[in-house]
Amino acid sequence: MSLNATQLKHVAHLSRIALDEAKIPALLNDLNAILAFAEQLQDSKLDALAPMAHPLDQSQFLRPDIVTEENNRTALQQGAPAVERGLFLVPKVIE
């Protein structure tokens, strides 16, 4: 498996990463080397094994349905670039 430039741009767009056109050949080279490395896994014989959701052989801890968090808005919004009437402000999202 290897990526071409179109696929790379698509994945970059989905991840909202800005790509410098000049760097695309070098990036493709690096990414495809990583993919080739990972591709060795395809040679493993896994037919007899069930897919594993998590490497730890444990199950999810469940917490009781109790409200434990208090309103901590002031502190939590200190790092926000813009806040108005309790709302986080972000650049206009057009649907």
Partner: protein, 494 residues
Amino acid sequence: MSSHAGWEAVIGLEIHTQLATQSKIFSGAATAFGAEPNSQACAVDLGLPGVLPVLNAEAVRMAALFGLAVGAHVALESTFDRKNYFYPDLPKGYQISQLAQPIVSGGAVVIAVGEGDKAVQKTIHLTRAHLEEDAGKSLHEDFAGATGIDLNRAGTPLIEIVSEPEMSSAAEAVAYARKIHAMVQYLGICDGNMQEGSFRVDANVSVRRRGDTQLGTRTEVKNVNSFRFLERAIDYEINRQIELIEDGGRVQQQTRLYDPNKDETRMMRTKEAADDYRYFPDPDLLPVIIKPETLEAWRASLPELPDAKAARYQAHYGLSAYDSSVLTSAKQTAAYFEQTLAAMGKAGDAKLVANWVTGTLAAQLNKEGLEISLSPVPADLLAQLLLRVVDNTLSNKLAKEVFDAVWAGEGTPDGIIEARGLKQITDTGAIEAMVGAILAEHPDKVAEYRAGKDKLFGFFVGLVMKAAKGKANPQQLNDVLKSSLGSCGEEGGV
């Protein structure tokens, strides 16, 4: 629709049901509706670095209850995946959901298609119901060049209930949505409030020529916050697609928003392909294990559900299939019916109560757009009113008048009967006195009646009723009049 003979619609629904937990699915923040913006959004809900999700046990129980109620497979092991997309109301950049191993898969509900006694039953199968977290809310108005983000809703537990594309009309889709809506409320796992977004229905709609086996390209209709709008939005979308194809166009796969003011759908966005979400198992969450004995305990805890309740109403109270299904279609309606009947005690008459709840009361609620839980005539007052019908204090006509007065807030039925002097005259002595007086005023007519002019009986009934201002019990009046005319005749013969 008649112009569209030869076409059929294929509809599947995705219903986002907010679970009625106190705290969020992965954090201890509160889920109450209507709080100050971002006052119920903690570090986990904000997706701050270093936080970890811890699953809410109650969300798991509620999801499993739903699965048990619809006869689905409830997975003893289910897993969480990340669904990746960028939007400001999803601060982590992914939604925690279940793709590969959902907690609930399969199951079915039965809906009634058509009205009244002509209704036929149709089974709608479910694909799955999976646990996931809700996103926050974006407010696009009021901020020049900016969008306001409220993350109170972020992390609210949801089950997304996905149906198979087995509905073929807007009416069927509404019947299915109503059935699921009733079930989640019977189960107590969702408050069902559509205006507040607790129960959000998205419709996948496509059309094809009758006989085609291939599915047409579908659109997804969102932003429907009532059953009435759901029906109108789907009807609009079916017609739009048929007309588009008949005019030589092609339906594009896209998400469309319903605008209730204009009664139309319009494009919101062309849909990204599913694999653009780049799902992968969430490494922060371990597999969720439900012990078989826990599942059995939950199964044993299931309440009586709408279909079982309707069957009991038919068998136990002798109600019709239609009345039973109407009464059980919402938990509150069934509760109102049962409360009214119970409040009437030994004099309770299930058919009479059913007629009033599905007739007069339902019509009045519908007219004013009220939920039954907010009825101005509560169950105990309807019971008091119907007791006065059972004991013949009120005729049906007068009962309706008293009902309207209770609705208008004029007091209790007994108080209104007293204040308006509406009490039906059932005192035999009083009726005899009125009959005696009328007969004494019309000796000539009495003589004609006795001579064989039977038709005059109605004349006497009318005069006595007029004297009684319409309040004499009709049956008693008949009886008294008959015996008086008869006994008078005997006396006259002496």
